[in-house]
């Protein structure tokens, strides 16, 4: 029993890191622009398809495609920003939510029309096998994904705290008007934040694909998980997102092991409502 508990805590932690990485892009966009992208899950789904096709045609392992998908997705983010987000920043909230919902419906069904509902999984993957640490078995694909997640988060954290651009981003996030008075081009910061958020999605998607498959409907799951993490983290920076991801991952793993696997989403959702109820600024919010 103890072994099972230990094994699943580890499973949960590894998955939690991945969840945190998936949510990180959303958290960054939310932090800087104060916009919740409802199409986030669909962005993840499209990125997973990109990973699949690139890996198939270039015959390279899925994990390596992150190097290609992340820049593509950065540009994709800029384009979406210019076409849609730029027009709704600062308008009334209903329009913001509605526009991204439109995007969500559109992307999901374009994917269906283009690639049909057939689930796609990577064929070439070097990340197979597992390492055994005492009583715990750790699959290498999950371990790599978790390590990359933490690495990406550290890199982002360093970027936000040690570079001029990063500091400008943070300033925009803290006080848009003051930042604009200081000569920061707020619009450009928004575009940067959106592009960066998407690039992170690109990285996350590549590593999810090392152990998951994608179909046009898979966006909803990833969207839901990301929203919950962002609510939990509040405006708590990178560490808040990581901690929230870990909590979510462990709650899920333990729930599946010791109760009913079918109810895991329900448990996570109750957590979501509970946090909104008692700590509406998130568990790790600074404001």
């Amino acid at each position: 029993m103890l072994e099972l508990l230990l094994q699943n805590l580890v499973n949960g932690i590894l998955m939690g890191c991945v969840y945190a990485l998936v949510a990180l892009g959303l958290a960054l966009q939310f932090g800087v622009m104060d916009i919740i992208n409802f199409a986030h899950g669909e962005f993840v789904m499209i990125a997973m398809y990109l990973v699949f096709w690139i890996s198939l045609y270039l015959a390279i392992p899925g994990s390596l495609t992150s190097l290609i998908v992340a820049p593509i997705y950065f540009v994709f983010g800029l384009v979406v920003y210019k076409l849609v987000i730029d027009r709704i920043v600062g308008t009334y909230p209903l329009a913001q939510i509605a526009a991204t919902i439109g995007l969500m419906v559109l992307l999901r069904n374009l994917a269906l029309a283009a690639w049909r509902a057939q689930p796609r999984g990577l064929q070439y993957e070097v990340l197979r096998g597992s390492v055994t640490l005492g009583p715990v078995v750790v699959p290498i694909s999950r371990l790599t994904a978790a390590l990359v997640s933490v690495g990406t988060m550290l890199a982002l954290h360093w970027f936000l705290t040690h570079t001029r651009l990063g500091l400008a981003l943070r300033a925009t996030s803290d006080d848009m008007q003051a930042a604009s008075l200081l000569g920061i081009n707020v619009r450009r910061m928004f575009a940067l934040a959106f592009g960066l958020g998407c690039a992170i999605i690109g990285i996350a998607a590549a590593f999810i694909m090392t152990f998951q498959q994608v179909n046009p409907e898979s966006g909803l799951t990833w969207g839901l998980i990301s929203w919950i993490i962002v609510v939990m983290a509040g405006l708590g920076g990178v560490s808040g997102v990581l901690l929230s991801g870990l909590i979510l991952g462990m709650v899920e793993a333990l729930e599946i092991t010791f109760w009913d696997p079918r109810a895991s989403l329900a448990v996570m959702y109750s957590l979501f409502i509970l946090i909104l109820w008692v700590k509406p600024r998130g568990l790790f919010g600074r404001r």
């Binding site: 699959p139 899920e252 793993a253």
Partner: protein
């Protein structure tokens, strides 16, 4: 309707509630007694001899409703492809000969993957094309929604949905050639048990894992009852959502239980997820036997999961490797046109449409004056006993005959196993292409 000052909102609401209750009460006392199922009168066997000669039938519309959008569209799209191929083939081979070579015309409607859409599609087909026969809708609850329409309009419904209860509703115009879910579950269990006996290996414990839809549940129940009947111990039955993000917690539960046999009812990609997770953590039971039509042995799953599904088995309602002339021909045609092997969804359509063709032929012989009358057509379906021809050559047991509830009496599912990266038929033993591998590679006692 300016509100008079005397009547308050409370009174208005109160009056409304009282009114509703009064209507309800009145309705309660006006209820008819519960309808008792009246025995259907025996059909009058003597056909009216003075009937005028029926007009020549040029074209017969076959309606088809499938989920072409939404989660299940992967099945609906393949079913549609298969149907187009078969209809062409039937027409190319001379149509319905007993009806003067009448051609079949296929009209396909999208069920939008919803009850709402399935009903709309059925109503549209019936009111615009008047098809004598509709085939569909892959998902049991959509099929049930459609059956309400087809029963009312007296249209024959040929189902390609597997869940058991569809044939238990007492529907009159309902036929199903494919094996139902409980047969799939039973076949998976029987296969494992008989293979173990052949190999002289003792199996005692079983864990059943299934995705959480009604389809998964019924298939799992079929396996469960069979396991109990065979004297095996079912340690646990785990249900999980098919879109599960990570299978590690489920696999670690399996490792903790450590059964001899895992019977699994996957939806689609969850099967691959479970197989790769098992491979990664290096856990294999004696066998993972899939039940229920898709999962471990589909070409897509094998290419996605690679060596992880080696030795895994899966039951199917259709066997693409069935070695009959017609099956070889149609599989080749399908592959040429669509670039893939036909699987469950397409295969069911192959034999279901050919069964429809045979029924129409028979109706033309039995009731030349009015072959498309729903009751005549129903008689023809019930009189069918197909043991040869394309329908039999694509059906696993090679025999289709409908019982009074509309199910095929000789329904059979087959078991494929992944051997060296290829799906091969291993059960029933008399049709098998290869000896089953048991226990599967990677099993450590």
């Amino acid at each position: 309707m300016r509100r008079r000052p005397g009547i308050g909102r409370t009174i208005l609401v109160g009056a409304l509630i009282v009114l509703i209750l009064l209507v309800a009460l009145a309705a309660f006392y006006m209820r008819k007694p519960a309808p008792t199922p009246s025995p259907t009168p025996a059909p009058t066997t003597a056909p009216p001899t003075t009937a005028p000669p029926a007009p020549k039938i040029e074209e017969i519309v076959i309606g088809m409703v499938e989920p072409l959008s939404g989660t299940h569209s992967i099945f609906g799209i393949e079913a549609k492809q298969a149907a187009e191929l078969i209809i062409e083939d039937i027409n190319a081979k001379g149509g319905i000969k007993s009806l003067g070579g009448a051609k079949l015309k296929l009209v396909v409607e999208d069920s939008k993957d919803s009850i709402e859409g399935a009903k709309l599609a059925a109503e549209k087909l019936i009111s615009q094309y008047h098809p004598p026969i509709i085939i569909g809708a892959y998902i049991s609850r959509h099929t049930a929604a459609m059956a309400e329409v087809t029963e009312r309009e007296k249209v024959i419904l040929v189902a390609d949905a597997l869940v058991d209860f569809l044939s238990e509703k007492g529907w009159k115009y309902f036929f199903r050639a494919c094996p139902k879910t409980s047969i799939h579950g039973k076949t998976a269990m029987d296969f494992v048990y008989e293979t173990a006996q052949r190999k002289g290996i003792d199996i005692k414990t079983v864990v059943i894992i299934n995705e959480d839809s009604v389809f998964g549940r019924y298939t799992a129940l079929g396996a469960y009852h069979e396991a109990l009947g065979l004297g095996l111990t079912v340690l646990d039955q785990i249900e999980y959502p098919y879109d599960i993000a990570d299978a590690s917690p489920i696999v670690s539960r399996l490792m903790e239980l450590d059964p001899d046999v895992v019977i699994s009812v996957p939806y689609f990609s969850d099967g691959v997820l479970i197989a790769t997770t098992m491979e990664e953590v290096g856990y294999k039971p004696m066998i993972v036997a899939g039940a229920g039509g898709c999962g471990y042995c589909d070409p897509d799953s094998i290419s996605a999961a690679g060596s992880a599904v080696e030795g895994f088995t899966q039951t199917y309602s259709y066997n693409p490797f069935l070695n009959t002339p017609y099956n070889r021909e149609i599989v080749q045609k399908f592959q040429e046109r669509y670039g893939k092997l036909p699987t469950e969804a397409g295969g069911i359509i192959f034999y279901s449409l050919w069964t429809i063709k045979e029924a129409l032929e028979l109706a033309g012989q039995m009731f030349p004056e009015d072959p498309l009358n729903p009751d005549n057509l129903r008689q023809a379906f019930l009189a069918l006993d197909i043991t040869s021809g394309p329908a039999a050559e694509t059906y696993p047991s090679g025999h289709i005959k409908f019982g009074p509830n509309g199910d095929n009496i000789y329904a059979m599912a087959v078991v494929l196993q992944v051997q060296n990266g290829e799906p091969v038929l291993v059960y029933p033993f008399e049709y098998a292409q290869a000896e089953p591998i048991f226990p599967i590679p990677g099993y450590k006692p």
